[in-house]
Subunit: 571 residues, 2 copies
């Protein structure tokens, strides 16, 4: 049978209501993005699969969620919570308890598909406003009931797992509004459970909704944009795809309001201040362990999509792509918004997967851009029109100097088109026993090649493992490396393999996480990565804010112990 005629029976139906799959599936239940024929060809080639291997699905997770674990909370405790938020905002059914205890970690997904349930919340609470949150935190602190915050639920590192049970506090049900757009200050005050698209839409329509003179953008577009929330961006230190221009979530936060067991406070609104260590910054990245973010004021930016221009280049080598990128980031003519370079394996697979007319490929080879050496760069410029033009022109000039050939804006626009939908393919791959996951690290320029080579060497030492790497968030001092792994691999093997990769990242000087946060997946490495003294600082803050360890306890950020069987742990 010719491959190109064969098409696996990709699932096209929303998961059954109440099923494990309905929790595990990424994104909207009725939305799908299936691997292309080229994807299927690649997987067959790499993993030595036949059409037959793509005919039987397994671990689809169609079973109904059944927990059969009585809540550890006493009835009067649940009643007390109901008294705060109303009965309609407290759930204790099996499905809710599992759903709001799960996020999108590869391991979580694979276990859910098998019907395996790990630690779950005893009760799910949906606060209506910050007063609710304050009462809940006070009550839970007094009663020593753990509180784990759930918002978008897109964590890929067990960030939402209630490892000690208790309450799952769902921020996105009610606390998801834009409260104010301050046009003079160019800030927006929002609730933490606000999802990306609703936020961006409100800013784009600021004249209609908030009587503003201009349209605005949030400037933060992670791949999870559609299913992540502003609060999550801030608390896990996310980076958007245009972060090279707009900054990381860390940079975009203006002020925050927190409810903690040690009290509630709002940091002050100043563009800069010299009044000692900045509590506003201390709270960023706290991943729920200090308290609950109940309001956040974000910097916003002018919305000027008409000035966007895409570019793409082919570089002869990875080294030339890195050198050019460094020169671009250090030359002080401004910065591109989206900016990505793919290593040779990602470039080659990208060309095969996303298509390039044959004659272009021949032309590239003819011009000396050799497969498995050449590297794709793509991105765009934003901001003021003349500024964007200048930045684009400068990038073109530096690219040429480093031997690159312009491929026009086509590749960039094509990439943008699917920027949020790639994660949908995971369901299809998992259906046929193929695992896909990612790890990523921040790195300085002087350590980039060493980290890239060594992590890749480890990953590729396992036969039949695809490893695609790109750098996608740039700074004058360095960038990140984002590793994507695809392999036909069982879960247990993967857990060990993943541990090996993280070991290599830490060993070769990458940051433990560039923008995925720590959660419980990376927690076991925090001590060796940051060192005893820095961990002691985080623990001192934890003791201050949450002396009874009720806020997101059970390993988050490596501050306390992770329950025994925690995959990714070093035991």
């Amino acid at each position: 049978m010719k491959t190109k005629n064969f098409r696996p029976d990709w699932t096209e139906q929303a998961p059954p209501a109440g099923s494990f799959r309905s929790i595990a599936k990424y994104g909207h239940p009725d939305r799908f993005k299936h691997p292309s024929d080229a994807w299927v060809r690649m997987m067959k080639d790499e993993f030595h699969l036949t059409d037959a291997d793509f005919s039987k699905k397994f671990d689809e997770g169609h079973a109904q969620v059944a927990l059969n674990r009585a809540p550890a909370l006493k009835p009067e405790q649940i009643e007390a919570l109901e008294a705060v938020v109303g009965r309609e905002n407290v759930s204790r059914d099996d499905y809710s308890r599992v759903k709001y205890s799960s996020a999108k970690t590869a391991e979580e997904i694979l276990e859910l598909r098998r019907g395996i349930i790990r630690e779950v919340a005893d009760v799910v609470v949906h606060p209506r406003d910050k007063q609710d949150v304050r009462k809940i935190v006070e009550y839970c602190d007094a009663q020593r009931v753990p509180v784990t915050v759930f918002s978008g639920g897109s964590s890929c590192n067990f960030g939402c797992r209630p490892c000690r049970g208790g309450v799952s506090l769902v921020m996105s049900t009610h606390m998801n509004k834009v409260l104010e757009v301050n046009e003079l200050n160019q800030t927006a005050r929002v609730q933490p459970g606000l999802f990306g698209p609703a936020y961006e839409d409100a800013l784009n329509r600021a004249p209609e909704l908030f009587h503003c003179r201009q349209r605005y953008t949030c400037g933060h577009f992670p791949q999870s944009f559609e299913y992540s929330t502003v609060g999550g961006w801030v608390l896990t230190l996310g980076s958007g795809q245009a972060s090279t221009y707009y900054g990381d979530a860390y940079d975009i936060v203006f002020s925050q309001e927190f409810v903690t067991p040690a009290g509630s406070f709002k940091t002050l609104d100043y563009p800069a201040t010299a009044t000692g260590p900045k509590v506003n910054d201390i709270m960023k990245g706290s991943e729920g362990v200090f308290g609950v973010l109940v309001e956040v004021t974000m910097k916003i930016f002018r919305y000027q999509p008409e000035n966007r221009r895409f570019f793409s280049f082919m570089y002869p080598t990875w080294e030339s792509a890195v050198d050019a990128s460094r020169e671009i980031m250090q030359s002080e003519f401004g910065r591109p918004a989206i900016y990505r370079i793919s290593d040779p394996e990602e470039t080659e697979r990208g060309l095969a997967l996303y298509g390039m007319p044959g004659f272009v490929d021949s032309f590239l080879a003819f011009r000396g851009f050799k497969p498995m050496r050449r590297c794709l760069c793509l991105g765009n410029v934003e901001g003021d029109r003349d500024y964007a033009r200048l930045v684009a022109r400068k990038i073109r000039r530096i690219a040429r100097k480093h031997g690159a050939m312009s491929l026009t804006g086509y590749a960039g626009r094509k990439w943008e088109h699917t920027r949020y939908t790639e994660p949908y393919m995971r369901e299809d791959l998992n259906d046929f026993g193929i695992l896909i996951d990612t790890l990523e690290a921040g790195v300085t320029w002087d350590n980039l090649h060493r980290l890239h080579q060594n992590v890749r060497a480890f990953v590729k030492s396992r036969p039949g493992t695809i490893c695609m790497t790109h750098a996608s968030h740039f700074y004058p001092q360095g960038t990140n490396l984002y590793f994507i792994f695809i392999a036909r691999m069982g879960l247990d093997e993967y857990v060990a393999f993943q541990k090996g990769i993280i070991d290599k990242i830490v060993e070769y000087g990458g940051s433990l996480s560039h923008h995925h946060g720590v959660g419980r997946l990376l927690a076991p490495w925090m001590g060796s990565h940051l060192g005893r003294e820095q961990m002691a600082v985080l623990r001192a803050l934890k003791r201050h804010f949450d002396p009874h360890n009720v806020m997101n306890p059970g390993g988050q950020l490596g501050l306390d112990e992770i329950p025994a069987r925690r995959a990714g742990s070093k035991e």
Copy 2:
């Protein structure tokens, strides 16, 4: 006698060796900058002075420093410190003890001129390297000996005063080297006691000194540049005059190495990381209360002075200058480097003091730029040549739109020429009983006018008080207001007056400090400004790093009690 023929007998001699004046005087002992004739005219007019008032100097501080206080440390403690750093690096003579316990706070200076000595160190220690610092901190922690860090000594808020005695640890004597320039990462690793000019010179000469391919700049040029150190910039959260482009000290720090009673550590070198709250940021602005900064890696920038272009404009009103500045900062075409706008009083006095040809003044008035309404704006652009041109062009366009008239780059270049020498005038003013001081605050755009008007109203309610205000550090979300006061006023009156101004800054929503830090001067307001909860966070960190309160104790940052007679305190 015609004013223009009269010239006060400005002091032109270096202060006598060993005198109070030699400690109080700003900058190099042999350098002076005297008030111009126009300055004298202004002071005569405003303060109703005659030539006679400028003929008798008082409180010149020519007396020899004599302390007559035995060190509170035991001889064996001093010997132990000598054993660490060598006898030659421990001083206990009166002069050293006073000198290294004093900085440049207005009140400090005026008291020194009168021979008044407040709290001083028992002994002055000059560590040679970070190993010395570690041993000293360990020893002092064990012995409960206070350690106050002294580096450049340019604090204007009692930041260097050893309020509990003990050791004054002088970082600038030996620990003042550039250790490494990492050209790939565009970073420089330096010792904290490195002064601005030595740092900038080393970076400018990076090809000769460090085999770099490019020349670099530090990007940080506070008015105190010549007499402040890199460590001080970081620990007090300074801002350079070109901060609108390069960022504040906070933004320019890449990583830090600290010695604290709780242990020594170096934060990691990453352009970004998502591994929880950033200890690197927690340490910035800690003003010596957590421990001692022993090494810091700073971001550096390409040195391209050939691309600098100055501009200056006259705006018809303060409102139009503010509106235009906001539009410039929010338009996303890049940013100017130096950028300042002066309020009407500063503009008028500036024109009178620094000279403008008469016909220009007539022309300005003719064109509707009326005295005490018009506002001067000046600045420059830096970075890549085309980028700098674009930013200059855009600024010009927005300025015109808001009714401004270009005054060419003349005023900017003239300002730059004297950018570091203005503080020298203080000696001359003080010699004739005239007080000059400054206070400053960060502020959002939507609160700028309210803060400006109310602080000014308070200051101007005192007859014969000059109040010049400018904004000089800009962000998309706001700016700072920098208030300069000049008056003929006694010290006691000033202390009360200053307290009133700070009250107004806090009452009307300015940040307590934009870039001067807190020290002990502003400490009494920290609680009401930040609130109980944020202060508790800072105190929790203090307890962690310095459980025995030996690091810069006695009120710094408002973390513990300030000794009873502390000017500026609210008692």
